[in-house]
C-alpha cells in the first residue's frame, strides 16, 4: 500500500515546489467523509441498476483495493514548456 505521494511542479516564476502527501492522512480524511462516501456508493449502485449497468460492489471494491496496493513505484513526469510536474508514489 502506498505510504507517501510526492508532487513536484514548476511554478510560473520558474521555481519548483514540492508537496509531500502522506497517504495515511488521506485515509483519515476519507474515513471522516465515509458517511458521504457510503451514500455516494449506494446512489451509484441504484443508478446503475436503474439503467441496467449491474456492477458487483464487492468486485469493484476488491479491484480498487488491488489498484491501490499496486501503486507504489509509479512515477509520472511531464516537462513541456511552462508545464512541468513529477508525481511519485512510494
Amino acid at each position: 500500500m502506498p505510504q507517501l505521494v510526492t508532487v513536484r511542479y514548476r511554478r510560473p516564476d520558474g521555481r519548483w515546489r514540492r508537496l509531500f502527501i502522506p497517504v495515511l492522512l488521506v485515509l483519515v480524511v476519507l474515513l471522516m467523509l465515509s458517511p458521504l462516501l457510503v451514500l455516494a456508493a449506494l446512489g451509484g449502485l441504484i443508478v446503475g441498476r436503474v439503467y441496467g449497468y449491474r456492477v458487483s460492489f464487492l468486485g469493484a471494491l476488491g479491484g480498487l483495493g488491488q489498484v491501490l496496493w499496486a501503486l507504489p513505484g509509479a512515477r509520472l513526469e511531464i516537462d513541456d514548456g511552462q508545464t512541468a510536474f513529477l508525481i511519485r508514489v512510494f
Partner: protein, 141 residues
C-alpha cells in the same frame, strides 16, 4: 588463483599433503569452478517490475519536451482485473464505437487470463523509435 587454490599450495609447501594429493585437489577444484560459473549464467534474470515509457521531443522549442512514466506491472494486472467488472451492456456500446471507428475488436472476447499472459510477456517488449526531432522508448525494467 583463488583462495582455495592458494590453500592447497600452502598445504603442499608445509608438507601436509603430497604432490599427487595436491594435483588431485586442484583438478577437483577446476572441475568444480566451471560448474559454478555455468550455474550463475543459467540463473534466470530478475523479473521486471516496471513498464517505462520515455518520450523526448525537441520540435516544439528550445527546451525539449519530456515524458517519463513508470508503471508498476502489478498495476497493469490490477487494471486488467478491473476490466472484468465492465457491465456487458457497456461492453456492447464500447464494441459498437470501436467498430464505427474502424477498430473491429470484440473486447468481450478478451479474457482476463489472456491479458495476464500478455502482461507476463511484456518484459520481452522493447520499442525504440528515434526520429529527427523525437525519441520514444518503451521497455520493462
Amino acid at each position: 588463483m583463488d583462495e582455495q587454490g592458494r590453500q592447497i599450495l600452502m598445504m603442499l609447501a608445509e608438507g601436509k599433503i603430497t604432490a599427487d594429493e595436491a594435483e588431485r585437489l586442484i583438478n577437483a577444484l577446476e572441475r568444480q569452478q566451471p560448474e559454478l560459473a555455468a550455474g550463475a549464467e543459467s540463473r534466470p534474470k530478475a523479473r521486471p517490475k516496471y513498464l517505462r515509457v520515455l518520450v523526448e521531443d525537441t520540435s516544439t522549442g528550445d527546451e525539449p519536451s519530456r515524458i517519463n512514466i513508470r508503471v508498476p506491472l502489478q498495476l497493469l494486472r490490477a487494471g486488467v482485473r478491473l476490466t472484468s467488472l465492465v457491465p456487458p451492456k457497456a461492453m456492447t456500446k464500447i464494441n459498437t464505437e470501436l467498430a464505427r471507428s474502424g477498430v473491429p475488436i470484440d473486447l468481450s472476447e478478451l479474457k482476463p487470463a489472456q491479458l495476464e499472459e500478455l502482461i507476463d510477456q511484456l518484459h520481452e517488449v522493447t520499442v525504440d523509435v528515434d526520429g529527427f526531432t523525437s525519441k520514444v522508448q518503451v521497455f520493462c525494467e
